[in-house]
């Protein structure tokens, strides 16, 4: 068991080093150490599943070992910015107001075609539309468009904007969400009255959401949705 335990640690550390050396391109959306966990954990879980001559502990112990390692690395990364930098790398600006930073692309082994594909996937078909583009540690590109290319917002049109509240899910798949009900400030009686009005019960309601304490989305099972306002509905 101890041999398996120590081997799991050694292989895990080696995989992290290799993935970091490979660079951000191969990582996709995960941080390097998360990518390693994803790769390895499925593999080790399958080994005893497919080969009964291998004891189950030879799959279980590596999985738990990886969980322990992942947890401790996450904790250390949270506590130390330096360690986080070493583990994940840091975000890099690839497009700035002067244009594409070719030197940075060379360092990252990122070619122009990859860059164009990444910005196109975000809806920008030319670097001319972009003020800044940042390659994140998880391999994704974040884009700040130029002012002229930004989508208009309510704030651009109006001087005064009221903030929205998030909708509360009060009934989900026939079950009342008690915690959300308390957070929303809506009384149980109001829900009962609303459901009675539409000849429904909690059990035959697929979804009930309320936002701004008045706007209702009520979706029964196997029936059209009901859009309404609370004060008018009740």
């Amino acid at each position: 068991m101890l041999t398996v335990f120590i081997r799991s640690i050694i292989i895990y550390v080696l995989l992290i080093i290799v993935i970091r050396l490979m660079g951000k391109r191969q990582i996709g959306e995960l941080q390097p150490f998360e990518f390693v966990i994803t790769l390895v954990i499925a593999e080790v879980a399958c080994i005893p599943m497919s080969d009964t001559s291998i004891p189950l502990s030879h799959g279980i112990i590596p999985i738990f070992t990886l969980f322990i390692l992942h947890l401790f690395i996450t904790k250390i990364a949270k506590a130390s910015v330096k360690f986080r930098r070493v583990l994940n790398g840091k975000p890099v600006i690839v497009i700035n107001p002067q244009g594409i930073d070719n030197k940075v692309l060379d360092k990252l082994d990122f070619d122009i075609n990859d860059l164009l594909a990444s910005i196109r996937s975000q809806g920008y078909f030319s670097p001319a539309e972009i003020q800044y583009a940042i390659l994140e540690t998880n391999g994704k590109i974040s884009i700040m468009p130029k002012a002229a290319n930004k989508a208009a917002t309510v704030g651009d049109i109006k001087d005064f904007v009221t903030e929205s509240e998030i909708p509360y899910t009060l009934i989900c798949e026939g079950k009342l969400m008690q915690e959300n009900l308390e957070l929303s400030g809506i009384a149980q009686v109001q829900i009962d009255e609303l459901l009675n009005k539409h000849s429904l019960t909690v059990k035959n309601t697929l979804l009930l959401t309320v936002n701004e304490k008045t706007i209702i989305y009520l979706q029964p099972y196997n029936a059209p949705a009901i859009y309404d306002k609370f004060s008018e509905a009740c």
Partner: protein, 124 residues
């Protein structure tokens, strides 16, 4: 915090179970070697050798179950065959063959002890 405590608990279980396995396997196999030595002495002094061999066989069959549960390995079967061969040799009064087989058995047990116990060459 709960995750950290869970992780530490799992770590303690893994290390504890692993340490127990190492100690148990090592002690059992050392005991096995001592018993084969006793059998060898019994053979050379013609002193209830068959009875000793049968006791060894019963002891091994019992211990093998717990050892295989902790650290399964193909060598357990080879050792079992060797024990049966020793018993067969003694039943047929083939003393020189039995003594040879006992030496082979001791070698197999030492080898298995080395394989199952943690060593850096196994890790690498």
């Amino acid at each position: 915090m709960k995750k950290v405590i869970t992780a530490l608990a799992i770590l303690a279980v893994i290390i504890g179970a692993g340490t127990f396995e190492q100690i148990y396997v090592s002690k059992t196999l050392d005991n096995f070697i001592e018993r084969t030595e006793s059998l060898k002495i019994a053979l050379t002094t013609s002193n209830n050798a068959l009875e000793e061999a049968e006791k060894l066989e019963d002891w091994w069959i019992e211990k093998k179950q717990s050892l295989e549960a902790l650290s399964p390995h193909n060598f357990f079967m080879d050792i079992t065959y060797s024990v049966y061969e020793v018993l067969g040799n003694i039943e047929n009064d083939e003393i020189p063959q039995a003594l040879t087989r006992i030496e082979i058995l001791k070698g197999q047990i030492s080898n298995l002890n080395h394989i199952l116990c943690i060593h850096w060459e196994h890790v690498i």
